[in-house]
Amino acid sequence: MANYAMVIDLHKCVGCGACGITCKNENNVPEGFFWANFLHKTTGKFPNVRYEILPTLCNHCENAPCVKACPTQAMYKDENGLTLHDPDKCIGCKRCIVADPYGVIYFNKEKPHRFWRDGTSAIEGITTNAQEVTAKTGTEVPYYNPDREKTYAGIRPKGIVEKCTLCDHRIRDGEKPYCVESCPAGARVFGDLDDPGSEVNRLLSKYDHFQLKPELGTKPKVFYTREF
């Protein structure tokens, strides 16, 4: 039993977007969906202008509105405090998306990964297209990661929602979430809030920190330290 959380050190984050890209590869996230996302904010006008970028993901709230809203127990809290989703129970009512104040849940309106089945070539008659590659190799390519299937649908089918699981399939095997693993600046720190000696607790006691929309009482477990 743990109480997992993430601390994002905004002094270290360089806004390179590596977390977003690697998350997509690790979790087979369809086009247009961003389990790891960014908020952008521009303040002022040239020459006095400031641009900020804030990496976001599911906050795995302690008091998760999406879990409360789900009519089929498809959205649930696991024993480690993660907000997870059961793709087999989900009826696609989109209730969780309506309840979610952070915009981190996505709905598969159509069969995902349209480009993987696309029949148009970049240069007609010269480059291979996705359909041709699939026909030759017999598998859905190019970016499918079978590891994802360990705990969640490898690809979430049409008609259900999907969201960040904090890479529960990696945590289970003692690894860090992939966005944490791939951050070149070491800005993302993952750990257990219930462990007094954990790195997340060390950072939270050392630095002033904030959460997104704390006034809603959702108790998010993604913390940001050292705001610019």
Binding site: P65, V67, T72, Q73, I91, G92, C93, V98, P101, K109
Partner: protein
Amino acid sequence: MLTMLEKAFTGSRRYWAWLLLLLILTGAGLICYLWQLDRGLSITGLSRDVSWGLYIGQFTFLVGVAASAVMVVLPYYLHNIKEFGRIAIFGEFLAVAAVVMCVLFILVDLGKPSRLLNIVLYPSPNSLMFWDMVALSGYLLLNLVIGWNVLESERNAVPPPRWVRPLVYISIPWAISIHTVTAFLYAGLPDKHYWFTAITAARFLASAFASGPALLILLCLLVRRFTRFDPGRGALQKLATIVTYAMIVNVLFLGFELFTALYSRVPGHVHSFEYLFLGLEGHGRLVPLMWTFVALAVVALVLLLNPRTRAGETTLAAACLAVFLSIWIEKGLGFVVAGFIPNAFGHVSEYWPTLPEALISLGVWSIGFLILTVFYKIAVTVKEEVGQ
């Protein structure tokens, strides 16, 4: 029971032509729905930011119509308003048709409709959607059982069975509950400022008690025109009084909301109203519709408040049509969409239903009117036979 059902299978040429038209519209909706099953909700105008649209809007509106049966049942059974005895059955059958439409609108909005029963298999008492399911199915059953038994005993010229009366009493608070739960679907969500107000449930009930009886008046006028049964002028005028009060309260509640938002100028509360009535950040697809709502509401109130126009049947019909359409716009589309604007990140992302989405909705309405027609046909035939 079968002899009552038989009455639905004999009718004039006009009756069959009307049923055929409804069947054709249902068929068109069904074809679009099959397309939606294949392609997914991508054929609708729904998006990540506006994930509920026309379907859930219609659902919300129709729960109100269903609940409004109580406006006939309550005066008749609790206050012994005799005039409503002739039309109580029409209110109950309208509720049945409306609830069926509600369930169908939920169904067509689901990404995985084949899993609908998961709501029962994995009951979640924390979820209001679960309670909505409980409330609606109970209400459907109550109205079916009550309506059918009352009609059957009317045909046999005997008083209804004694056990029907307790069911009637249960159905009164139950009607209030279905619309309250539907309002709570919206009012309990953090960060959805437009919906996050305690008056949502009250507003829903007020608009329900205006739009439902308005529809019932229109239906009664049609029944009188096309059959030999007369629902009675007294009943219609009593209903008109109810519509008048409910419409005033409905507009007043919207005014309360506007005051709180516009006087305080708290951005979250102002933005949705700005989007609806003026347009926000250059987006204003609903603006013309919302001003149509305002115009219709004003026309309706003028016609209803003036005793002479309320008494005149043509003007009353016009008033009821205006009430029905105005609330349909405000509740069936505006209320749901405006709640999503601006989105979680403060941006405006617009919604407009697509053609297949509209046809599917029309199809569901047709199914509702098919049910309504058949039930009303049976009721009217029975009433004609017993010579009311």
